[in-house]
Symmetry: C2
């Protein structure tokens, strides 16, 4: 039987929420069964960094040529250097039936959502809804203006959430990892996916 294509798992969320910490924790666990997608950059390797391990290092000309060829899932420029996700590595890994994991800024995630609508988009949210509630209401001594500003900021976070399939609260790193893992297991059990396999099999594919 033809193997199911892998899942593209995109972990994103507001800056400072702890995306990198959760990603590192996931990949330090022996039962994590995703491939981590290595980013591509035009910045020079730092001491000890290895091409194809830490980053794929490219010249600006190479990077811009790849952009023109549509070979980047997403990219952005920071401090004069390009950073992006190479499409070829992601596609090859997915085609081999393996799940690919990206940890990425919200702008990059939005670019990917357009290109890979069946990806799995997980929004890492600030620790606990009740913490947000406390932040909004404060100690009961805040002016209405302060509370209104906080509600506006929370609304902005909520709007970013809109593009995502799942929201994982980062109240505790291990709990957040457990939820990400559960989401991946559950997605592999979604009827649409399993049914496709059954149908392909019944058709003798």
């Amino acid at each position: 039987m033809r193997r199911e294509r892998g899942l593209l798992i995109v972990l994103s969320g507001p800056s400072g929420v702890g995306k990198g910490t959760v990603r590192k924790a996931l990949f330090s666990q022996p039962d994590t069964n995703y491939e981590y997608s290595i980013s591509m950059t035009t910045r020079l390797p730092r001491e000890g960094e290895v091409d194809g391990v830490d980053y794929f290092f490219k010249s600006t000309e190479e990077f811009e040529s790849l952009i023109e060829q549509g070979q980047l899932l997403e990219y952005a420029k920071y401090v004069g250097n390009y950073y992006g996700t190479p499409l070829e590595y992601v596609n090859k890994t997915l085609d081999a039936g393996r799940d690919v994991f990206l940890e990425i800024e919200v702008q990059g995630a939005a670019q990917i959502r357009d290109k890979v609508p069946d990806g799995l988009f997980i929004f890492l949210a600030p620790p606990s809804i009740s913490a947000l509630q406390q932040r909004l209401v404060g100690r009961g001594t805040e002016t209405e203006d302060v509370i209104a500003t906080r509600i506006a900021a929370a609304n902005q976070e909520l709007e970013m959430m809109n593009l995502y399939d799942y929201v994982v609260e980062n109240d505790e790193v291990q709990l957040a990892c457990d939820r990400v893992n559960a989401i991946v297991v559950a997605e592999h059990c979604r009827r649409e996916r399993v049914e496709k396999q059954y149908l392909a099999m019944l058709r003798g594919e």
Copy 2:
């Protein structure tokens, strides 16, 4: 903050697939955090059976009156006795923010799907897709008729699957339990649910 309503988890599947075994395994595990919905029946208690523990025991008149009042999520008659799922217990438990777990025949599950569209419907599938494939193709010595009959039977199972959100292969009881648990964790992280809580909070509810 208002507590999220619990999830109605419905585990079903073809007869003989091992629904009861998976349910018992789930409820023998200390970290299972669902309430098991006790069925209602008109058959007499067997020795040792306790009303409200094994079943809610009712007279035929009481049962039929509850049917008329729409107080059963689903029901069926076997060997002259009614069996069904009382709506009130399910609703009270869900309203208290607790997940309710039902293990039920496919006909009952179809009745519930109509009444509770936002329930979580899990189809327990025969052990492994590759086993099904082997069953279809056989040893290469089967006639085309035999293979056609097998494909028709498999198609019938597949059609039942159609009403469900998730398909869990019962290749190994513990793996099936792990998948059910992962699905419940993931569903609690679905953006639509979490977003609703955030919105309610921002509106000061």
